[in-house]
């Protein structure tokens, strides 16, 4: 494995090692023995994973291995697909999110999501951000709402770029700005976890760098799970990495370990590009 340890990937992962002497408390989300089916087809097979607020967790793996499927299981977005079925337990703060008493609406307010393709609503920038707080009744008066909008846009690093054009349509922004708008929109309802499904795959390198920076700043405040096809991105932004293959969780651990010292041959093949 010496060849991997010297690779640039491993170097990046080593840098993120510096962050790792953080005390970890209880995991924010805990998945145990989770299967996901589409009709008869099993897309996820008995996956165990912990998500911590202190770390960014990256899901990597070849296309079709079930990363999105599992990610969507974490805030029950799979409920919108009639054929999808989830078994096993997924807990948020120790509470089973698939329990019958669980309010999906509340759950999704606590576990937000950012999609692969930026999907701002065809409303003004302001209304895009205000949408969540309004439906969840987080702001009573206009000044409160203004406050939330500004704070969210600042956190998403978009405020300076859009503060003079809050009434413009959200769809009139550039792709990278739209994606940060979507992140700001997710932040606006003050979630505990943010799930991101390939948030940079439609963006150029500069916009990607901005989002990665943003993810790094958000770490610690929100539990962040990011699906990515870019090994470099996983190495740069995450502290925990999960490698999926054919619906199985092959390996899950410290990002630095996965990239320098994987225990599984399949992981090593994938991250060194030897995977078919």
């Amino acid at each position: 494995m010496a060849d991997i340890a010297d690779s640039p990937l491993a170097n990046q992962a080593n840098k993120s090692l510096e962050h790792e002497n953080i005390e970890t408390g209880e995991p924010k989300m805990r998945a145990r023995d989770v299967d996901v089916y589409y009709g008869q087809k099993k897309a996820i097979d008995s996956v165990d994973i912990d998500v911590y607020t202190e770390f960014v967790t990256a899901f990597i793996g070849p296309s079709g291995c079930g990363k999105s499927t599992f990610l969507r299981a974490l805030n029950r977005m799979n409920d919108t697909i009639p054929s999808a079925r989830v078994t096993g337990t997924i807990e948020l703060d120790g509470e089973d999110i698939y329990a019958s008493g669980m309010d999906v609406v509340q759950l999704r307010a606590r576990v937000g999501m950012v999609f692969q393709k930026p999907n701002p609503f065809p409303k003004s920038i302001y209304d895009n951000i205000a949408y969540g707080p309004k439906i969840h009744g987080l702001a009573d008066a206009k000044p409160d709402l203004d406050n939330i909008v500004e704070k969210s846009l600042r956190r998403a690093g978009l405020w300076e770029e859009v503060k003079d054009r809050l009434t413009d349509s959200g769809t009139a922004l550039s792709g990278g700005q739209q994606q940060r708008l979507c992140i700001a929109r997710a932040i606006a309802v003050d979630p505990e976890v943010i799930l991101m499904d390939e948030p940079c795959s439609a963006l150029d390198p500069i916009a990607t760098a901005k989002i990665e920076e943003l993810i790094d700043e958000l770490r610690g405040r929100y539990g962040i799970v990011i699906v990515t096809h870019s090994m470099q991105q996983a190495a740069r932004v995450s502290q925990r990495t999960a490698f999926f293959h054919l619906g199985n969780l092959v390996e899950y651990g410290h990002t630095s370990d996965i990239f320098t010292n994987p225990t599984e041959q399949r992981t090593q093949d994938y991250i060194t590009g030897r995977y078919g």
């Binding site: 977005m77 999704r108 999609f115 999907n119 065809p122 409303k123 949408y131 969540g132 439906i135 309802v189």
Partner: protein
Amino acid sequence: MSASTLILLVLGLGLAGWLVARSRAAMFRRAHGGKRIASLPNYHAWYAALWIVVPTLLFALIWAQIADNLVIQHVLASPAAADLPAFGMQRETMLAEARAVATGAAPGVFNPEAAALVEPFDEALTRYNIIGLVVTILIALAGGAWAFLRLKPDFRAHTRVERAVLGVLLIASLVAILTTLGIVASLVFETVRFFGMVNPIDFLTGVNWSPNPMTDGSNPDPERYGAVPLFWGTFFIGVVIAMIVAIPLGMMSAIYLNQYAAPRVRTWLKPALEVLAGVPTVVYGYFAALTIAPAIRDIAMSLGVQNPSSESALAAGLVMGVMIIPFVSSMADDSIAAVPQAMKDGSLAMGATQNETIKRVLVPAALPGIVAGIMLAISRAIGETMIVVMAASATARLSANPLEAMTTVTYQIVANLTGEASLDSASTLAAFALGFVLFLVTLVLNIIALRIVKRFREAYE
């Protein structure tokens, strides 16, 4: 000689030209030692055939128009015609009778005076038939010869044929447009005549509508041609009442079908809804006149309304609204379905409920399409005729009480056109002016709606 034999003859000549040209082109090919010539033999063949058929048919068309006149002229010039009555029906009848006998369509004359005319008719028909036939054949030969002389190994027959095909397609597509233009032109023409008798300002702003077909003639009292009550009735029945029914019901059924209905329910319910659009409007008319209108009158009476009308605006409007539901709902359904799933997911992932997502994201995003659908529905409703003819009233009234009788533009068009008055009396011409106004309004509504839809499409490309 009848038209059909003439056409057969022309086609036969065309076929002959086709075959000859084809074999000539094939000869070029052989002469070139099997090498390629500029166009396939078939194109040469079509080129020649078109040159034969098209000019002859054009001639035949024109000839059919003028030959008739020539025949009549010949007959009238004959000595036997001197005895004909000078004008009127009798004269026409006799000419027609003589012609029928001459062409063999009738065995003998009924009017003895007509018998003398058979001979000249016969003569004239034969003469002009022969002239027509000879000219047709000459034109065919000339066309064929012209085409034939141009056939050369390097002649690009295919581009010529291509151009001819293009012409045909162009003409086909122009037919609909030209028809529309023709309709507009005739409307405009009659409308201008009407406005020569009644000042357009009086017409568009007057509030008293009571044309009298018997006495108005061509010098009517403009005071009686105020169309405002008709516009009001149309607006009140077709826009206010009908839309109060159609917009909420159409929207709600679209949302239900699109967002809530299980696939199995949807496969049944959607066609069922669309059947509504296929019910003949005359059937809605019965329903409005025979079922709804009496029911409304009875209910009004039981509520203590004095003398409610049995031709209330409400009855026509309600039924019209039901008729319009499928237009509203299918446009709304399409536009909601066109909103990307990502938008919906985005909202649901924020923790919005299905209902909030529909209200705050889907419907606003689909709004342009929905509005366009409503405008199309309105233009349908105000142009709708059968329901109002059967269920609305002839009385023009400016009132906001839906229980009262009202009349509409389309009702009055029908009434005035099918009335007793002659075609150039003011009351008949008023129908054209009304039709013209209606046409303009629906045209504008449709144009606006189509523009909105187009913009909307672009937004999600």
